[in-house]
């Protein structure tokens, strides 16, 4: 278990607490004190019409967070029209049971519960002469409709992606998994943000030890706020210092469902369309949802391509440096002569040239990532013309290095999801190559692979499928065997229930 460093020992929402009193005015004053300075805090006073006109009510909510129609039709209108007895204890119950038209209403005196209800868009009903307040569900903020995620497009896949509200996401999953075994466990994280975290798993398939471990790790997190799934992942994942991610992310409900069926656990984070999937093993980087809907030969080919791309993108510049500065004998004579000719007149040493261009490429990529589309034309002109053609013609860099960096960049784009380790390893290997030639690269690769073998994702070895020496385990890693061969769930990831297909009649 890695130690997670959390900056704040104990964080509390506020020192002020609400102590529910009998008087409505007193209670309201406490709420107003707490929300002082927040103009969206609303208190609507009203009273019952028919009987007990002295019985006053006050509805507290945050403007913009609530659906006004719910407040009007389900709370205020029925209460005003209601016939109510005097007894206040009974009042809260009667209001919940007989008056309010809402799927969720609950009486409470708990300060934190009441406050967070208001904050989350529910409304709180204060009643005169009553110690209890009633929380009524009235969430009504705006959210977007599910649309295909830009970052994870599939050719033959649904055009639906996760959205921000956690329950909508749960609905997107549940719609695809009609089983009561699908469990949803809600937790909150963040003392200030009170972000809802949803742990989704299929009972009987998901590994209980992993689930327990996950819950324990989430419980350990103490932080003021949690806005992004990525930061939660960093807090709870294994090998936190490693560039390799041991928790996966997806924006696609179909991918999440496939993961659930493999026995993985999905963690939804409220307010972000990115969900986490775990345990996440190395081969997952090379898998795409499309692999399972396209022809198995083609999918296997694409996976091999992705893996080759991964190795190319981390080693190509390093190998170039090693070959041209240490092992010129390995370059075919004709090629060496063109490299020599291309380098003629270039002032920088090869290693500086290569590392420099790699940095420039990363700058171009970074600039393009968060750039409005209108500017991308200018970017490509800069990149292609100025850096490519002009630099070569001005003899600032040699054409071969440009080719190598272009190859690196291209293969890097193909393996976008492993970006972080790729950049780190590539740079390290290139420097090692400049220092010890191919032996440097070899030592570097041995180090990296040792590291990859040593990390685990929630107890499951990261490289499990590649290191089992069982050719059968490669059927859904390096290759994608026809669906009817994929009869078992991954070992260790899932629990006792391992069989996915009953028989092979399906073929």
């Amino acid at each position: 278990m890695p130690k997670h460093k959390n900056s704040l020992p104990t964080v509390s929402i506020s020192n002020k607490k609400i102590i529910m009193l009998k008087s409505l005015e007193d209670n309201l004053k406490q709420f107003e004190d707490i929300f002082q300075g927040d103009d969206s805090f609303m208190a609507r006073h009203f009273a019952c019409v028919r009987k007990n006109k002295s019985l006053k009510f006050c509805l507290l909510y945050l403007d913009g967070m609530v659906d006004a129609a719910i407040l009007d039709n389900s709370i205020i209108k029925p209460i005003i029209n209601a016939h109510l007895p005097d007894d206040c204890e009974a009042n809260a119950d009667i209001i919940i049971n007989q008056v309010i038209f809402s799927h969720y209403a609950k009486k409470s005196q708990e300060s934190d519960e009441l406050l967070s209800a208001i904050i989350m868009g529910d409304s709180v009903l204060l009643i005169e002469n009553c110690y209890d307040a009633v929380i009524v569900s009235s969430k009504g903020w705006k959210s977007r409709t599910p649309s295909e995620p830009e970052g994870e497009k599939l050719i033959r896949g649904p055009r639906e992606g996760f959205v921000e509200p956690i329950l909508d996401n749960l609905a997107l999953i549940r719609r695809r998994l009609a089983t009561p075994d699908l469990k949803y466990k809600e937790m909150t994280i963040g003392v200030e943000t009170k972000t809802k975290i949803g742990i989704v798993y299929i009972e009987g398939i998901a590994n209980k030890q992993i689930l327990a471990e996950l819950i324990e790790r989430i419980n350990k997190v103490e932080i003021d706020g949690m806005v992004l799934a990525g930061s939660l992942a960093e807090l709870i994942q294994d090998a936190p210092y490693s560039p390799f991610e041991t928790i996966g992310f997806t924006e696609r409900p179909d991918v999440a469902v496939a993961d659930l069926l493999e026995g993985r656990i999905i963690v939804l984070v409220d307010g972000t369309p990115i969900t986490m999937t775990l345990p996440y093993l190395f081969e997952k980087f090379f898998q795409s949802g499309d692999d399972y809907s396209l022809n198995y030969l083609f999918s296997s080919f694409s996976r091999l391509l992705r893996m080759i791309s991964f190795w190319l993108t981390i080693t190509a510049p390093a190998i170039y440096v090693a070959l041209t500065t240490y092992h010129q004998e390995m370059i075919p004579t004709a090629l060496l002569m063109s490299i020599l000719a291309a380098r003629e007149g270039v002032p920088f040493p090869t290693i500086v040239e290569t590392v420099g261009l790699l940095v420039i490429f990363e700058i171009l990529r970074e600039a393009g990532t968060r750039m409005p589309i209108s500017l991308s034309n200018a970017l490509s002109i800069l990149g292609a013309l100025v850096l490519g053609t002009a630099a070569v013609e001005a003899k600032i860099v040699s054409a071969t290095v440009i080719t190598v960096v272009a190859l690196t960049g291209l293969t890097g784009l193909m393996t976008q999801r492993i970006k972080a380790p790729i950049v780190v390893i590539r740079t390290a290997l290139t420097l090692l190559a400049g220092f010890m030639g191919l032996y440097g690269i070899l030592y570097g690769i041995i180090f990296v692979t040792l590291h990859m073998c040593s990390i685990r994702s929630f107890g499951v070895p990261y490289m499990m499928e590649f290191t089992s020496l069982n050719p059968g385990d490669l059927r859904d890693t390096a290759l994608r065997a026809p669906i009817w061969f994929l009869r078992h769930r991954p070992k260790l990831v899932s629990s006792s229930n391992k069989t996915r297909q009953a028989n092979r009649l399906g073929q």
């Binding site: 278990m1 010890m436 191919l438 032996y439 692979t449 073998c453 040593s454 069982n470």
Partner: protein, 380 residues
């Protein structure tokens, strides 16, 4: 700390890579010339006997490594003494291997780089590997092993039209004596060196069959060396083989595919460095275990890093030059290794048989608690 476990397949692969280790650097003996394959076969036959002894020791006391066993069999003082001798052997050979690697890299391409730098890098790598533990090495070697095999076989296959098997003739021209001498060398050099695995036998999965591990490893490793030796001779003839400092490496120098792929010996270097790295790591792992036993330290990892760096630093002063290093490896080592590879294991084996028999008589329940199913599953 949960116990580290490597499963049977990983153990086999680890041992095969171990056997490949130095056979690929200095090659096999040079006295028998073209008869080296006979020497190899004889050595394999001999090794299968002594390996059966090693396997039997592991089988008798599964889940225990040599040092625990010494304590149990010979008592504290004698056990410690034998462990001390054995640990010395581990240290000394580990030292040699680190030197071999750095010398190899230095001669074949980094001739201007100070040896200490190469030794330092090798040391860092080994220290990291030991920190990760044997389980990780078991997994790691399962990735690299297929790569090594594929590269070697590819190299052998693409050179197929350059082979001249006539070079293997005449058979036994100089008689059996040089062949036997080489066979002894090969027996001692990679094969019987698997005695080191006694030191890490505690990590073998308890269900695994040590006899199977040793036999399959011997078979694959032996076949691999056979392929390498025959390839070297069929390509270059016995004369070139005995002339070169690192013959298996040099063969790749003349293998070429068309005009484009030539001078591919560096690809061979990948195999060599990986295999030797594995070998050194196993040695150093065993060494660290031995030292932690001698110094009564629970976790060998606390010791591993300083030990590795000490060894790497010391390796620089081991020999004056590479010529002596190769001579030592081929000529002196086999005799030097006899007590460690044959005598100590035999002693341990006899003592173990007696002990096991006594144990069976006295308490039959002991074993049932001892061999409770190991848990290869989750560890967090």
């Amino acid at each position: 700390m949960q116990k580290e476990i490597i499963n049977q397949k990983q153990a086999i692969v680890l041992m095969v890579t171990f056997i490949m280790g130095s056979g690929t650097i200095v090659g096999t003996g040079d006295k028998s010339g073209q008869d080296i394959w006979i020497a190899l076969l004889i050595a394999m036959a001999g090794a299968s006997i002594i390996m059966a002894v090693y396997a039997r020791i592991i089988k008798l006391f599964p889940g225990m490594d040599l040092f625990d066993l010494l304590d149990k069999l010979f008592g504290r003082i004698l056990g410690k003494f034998i462990a001390l001798i054995f640990t010395w052997y581990l240290f000394h050979v580990g030292l040699n291997l680190i030197r071999n690697t750095s010398e190899f890299i230095r001669i074949i391409s980094l001739d201007a780089t100070p040896q200490c730098v190469i030794a330092l890098f090798t040391g860092v790598l080994i220290a990291y590997a030991l920190r990760c533990g044997i389980e990780v090495i078991g997994r790691w070697v399962s990735i690299f092993f297929p790569v090594i095999i594929v590269i070697s076989i590819t190299l052998s296959v693409i050179a197929v039209d350059m082979y001249d098997f006539d070079r293997l003739k005449p058979v036994l021209y100089e008689g059996l004596k040089p062949v036997l001498s080489d066979a002894f060398g090969i027996f001692a050099h990679p094969f019987a060196e698997t005695v080191v695995f006694l030191g890490i036998a505690g990590c073998f999965q308890k269900q695994s069959n040590p006899h199977k591990i040793f036999n399959i490893a011997l078979l694959i490793g032996g076949l691999y060396m056979l392929m390498l030796a025959v390839r070297t001779i069929a390509l270059m003839g016995p004369v070139n083989k005995s002339l070169q400092m690192f013959p298996p490496y040099i063969t790749a120098r003349i293998i070429k595919i068309g005009d484009f792929f030539q001078r591919i010996e560096l690809i061979n270097a990948v195999i060599i460095v990986t295999a030797v790295f594995t070998k050194v790591t196993v040695y150093m792992f065993s060494f660290a275990k031995g030292m932690s036993y001698l110094l009564k330290i629970d976790d060998y990892r606390t010791l591993s890093t300083p030990l590795v760096f000490f060894t790497a630093a010391y390796s620089i002063f081991l020999f004056d030059n590479a010529l002596f290093m190769v001579k030592w490896a081929l000529n002196v080592f086999p005799y030097y290794a006899i007590p460690f590879e044959i005598i100590i294991p035999l002693l341990v084996w006899i003592a173990a048989e007696i002990k096991a028999r006594n144990d069976k008589k006295t308490t039959s329940q002991n074993q049932s608690t001892n061999s409770s199913g190991s848990n290869a599953g989750m560890q967090c």
